[in-house]
């Protein structure tokens, strides 16, 4: 009897592991920054390079930091989602134009619409590196105390917005 049960149990255990492996996206590296303070920076605004923005200014508010670029294809997919979100006026969205030419970034927003409360320009990608960005788009949810609560790698969709990000924002705002 044992000789039949044992291989079957081994088969079952292996199947569970392999099945879990199938569903995993190896690109989704869990960010070590979640639960930590958002790295500080001072960056010029895309539209008014004379002015600067620093995350400190958002203290006391829940906000989204959306990393995008004019050269990024998936950003075009999430653009309508961002537009719809900005119209609902639920949460301020700060756009970080990552490794982009200011001219290209501005042209893109002028053409497609600007969903951002404000846009900052990270021309050399140094701030992106501090935030652990390794591809665009990425979206961070940052709480009232400036702690990173969540990091989304990849495009925003109405689904992950509805299921994950908006409930989290509501929860953090209520705190």
């Amino acid at each position: 009897m044992m000789r039949f049960i044992l291989p079957f149990v081994i088969f079952l255990v292996l199947s569970v592991f392999l099945y879990k492996g199938l569903g995993r996206d190896t690109r989704e590296v869990p960010s070590p920054l979640v639960g930590k303070p958002a790295p500080a920076f001072v960056l010029p605004l895309l539209h008014e390079p004379g002015k600067v923005f620093s995350p400190k200014e958002m203290q006391g508010r829940v906000w989204l930091l959306n990393v995008w670029a004019s050269w990024c294809g998936a950003c075009k997919d999430e653009h309508p989602v961002l537009m719809a979100l900005s119209q609902q006026n639920i949460v301020p969205i700060v756009g970080l134009d990552y490794k982009d030419k200011a001219v290209d970034g501005e042209a893109t927003l002028k053409k497609a619409g600007d969903p951002y409360s404000l846009v900052i320009a990270d021309a050399d990608g140094k701030v992106g590196f501090d935030y652990g960005v390794y591809g665009v788009p990425e979206t961070y949810v940052i709480d009232k105390n400036g702690i990173i609560a969540y990091k989304l790698i990849g495009a925003l969709t109405s689904q992950n917005l509805r299921e994950k990000i908006l409930p989290l924002v509501a929860e953090l705002q209520a705190k």
Binding site: T26, R27, V29, P30, S31, P32, L33, K99, G125, F129, D130, Y131, G132, Y134, G135
Partner: protein, 177 residues
């Protein structure tokens, strides 16, 4: 005039030489950087080290490594910085800690399990294989069969092979004893 044109043709070459110099600035540091970059996974291309990758992100990481090295950071400090930003999975050899313990201990656990299985099987087998006691008659038969066999195997025994034959006989003597 001809010579002037020839000199003019060479001008762009000088320009390129100037650009390339930037990276090869300090060959010792460049080698140290590449050595360190071999330990870092390119997150965009997954299975490739940063040292081999041509992706934009890997370029950035290499540049940051150069900058930090120029600023006097040790290799470990640079790796720590990368882990802090991108998580432990940027390292090809993840550090041994609470989270990676199952990963690191898995080979030893499997070895132990295999060893235990082998030990169990061998114990079981020892019970099964009973060394049969031979009766005197059987022993005689066995001896005669064994004695015959060299002749059967070797149809033309020659004088020079005597030593060999006696060697073959040796085991049967043991059985008799």
């Amino acid at each position: 005039m001809k010579y002037l044109l020839m000199i003019a043709l060479l001008l762009p070459t000088f320009a390129f030489a100037g650009v390339a110099k930037d990276i090869a600035d300090d060959p010792v540091m460049e080698r140290r950087m590449m050595h360190l970059a071999e330990k870092v996974r390119c997150l965009v291309c997954q299975s490739e080290p940063v040292s081999n990758s041509h992706s934009d992100w890997s370029n950035d990481v290499r540049q940051i490594m150069r900058d930090k090295m120029k600023a006097g950071a040790t290799d470990q400090e640079i790796l720590d910085l990368l882990v802090e930003r991108f998580g432990k999975s940027v390292l090809f050899d993840p550090p041994v800690d609470k989270e990676t313990m199952p990963l690191w201990s898995a080979p030893f656990i499997l070895l132990l399990l295999g060893g235990a299985g082998l030990y169990y099987q061998l114990r079981k087998r020892r019970g099964e294989v009973v060394e049969a006691e031979l009766s005197a008659q059987d022993e005689l038969r066995a001896a005669s069969l064994l004695n015959e066999s060299p002749a059967l195997l070797d149809p033309l025994p020659q004088a020079g092979e005597e030593a060999n034959v006696s060697l073959r006989d040796a085991p049967s003597k043991d059985i008799k004893a």
